[in-house]
């Protein structure tokens, strides 16, 4: 039995996820938006590991490994896209990527 109750782990994971979501919605810098996505993925992994620790099973840690793979693939493709955006627009402002809107 884990010493830390599962509810507290889930609350902290939820708080971290909410902070990442706020960052994603508020910030307009593309790199900081990617960072916020990383925070959210990390919070989801924390919930998985907390649940796995609560029941003493390795499944939660396995899920965290898969989240890690997803995060690594996402950030590499996302940062390559950031490079392309910067070459085309000379800016990292997400508000300027509005060519589809016009």
């Amino acid at each position: 039995m884990a010493a830390v109750p599962l509810e507290h782990v889930l609350l902290i994971a939820g708080a971290l996820f909410a902070l990442g979501l706020i960052g994603l919605l508020v910030r307009r810098n593309i790199i900081l938006m990617l960072v916020s996505v990383e925070i959210m993925l990390n919070a989801a992994g924390l919930a998985f590991v907390g649940a796995g620790a609560h029941w003493g099973q390795p499944d939660g840690q396995v899920m965290f490994l898969l989240i890690l793979a997803v995060a690594a693939a996402e950030v590499s493709v996302g940062l390559a896209l950031v490079l392309q955006v910067y070459r085309h627009f000379q800016s990292l402002d997400a508000e300027r990527l509005n060519n589809l809107k016009d």
Partner: protein, 168 residues
């Protein structure tokens, strides 16, 4: 043990708030590294030492290096030096250093704790994780490797410079 967990979670939440409120990307990355280290300590306190090590190596190591590389690539030229000096004044390191000192004390408390005492979490050893990984989750591991390959090819394709016109 529980004290260490709550202290680390407080550091994680404080560092994350600093991440989403910094105006400067490099400062935000400094605090993000701290947030990830705090989460790694939380994993350790929860009884997942393997995941804690992976968090430090892959998140705070590899993924942060990617972010820093991209920021470096976007700021070339002689103006970059002055910009970098303006980015990281010595007083900028005070906040992260205080949080990191709290984390270090937390880690020492965690390591000095008596492992036989009550309230110790049940540690899920790396052996159990790897047995599950290559047993029932083998297909998921293969899918993750496929995803990483797709990410590698996609990042290579997107990240290269545009060819000059029709001379290649």
């Amino acid at each position: 043990m529980t004290i260490a967990f709550y202290l680390a979670s407080a550091v994680a939440i404080a560092a994350t708030i600093m991440v989403i409120t910094r105006r400067n990307v490099v400062h935000a990355l400094l605090y993000l590294i701290l947030s990830l280290l705090a989460v790694a300590l939380m994993f350790f306190a929860l009884g997942a030492p393997f995941i804690a090590a992976l968090e430090v190596m892959v998140y705070a190591g590899a993924i942060m290096v990617l972010f820093v590389f991209v920021i470096m690539m976007l700021n070339l030229g002689p103006a970059g030096v002055a910009q970098e000096r303006a980015w990281l004044p010595p007083r900028m390191f005070v906040g992260p250093a205080i949080l990191a000192a709290i984390l270090l004390a937390d880690l020492l408390v965690l390591l000095a704790g008596n492992p036989a005492s009550a309230g110790q979490p049940q540690v899920v050893a790396p052996k159990a994780v790897s047995l599950a990984l290559y047993g029932p989750y083998l297909l998921a591991v293969e899918l993750a490797s496929l995803l990483l390959l797709a990410g590698l090819v996609g990042a290579y394709h997107l990240g290269r410079r545009e060819p000059k016109k029709e001379n290649d």
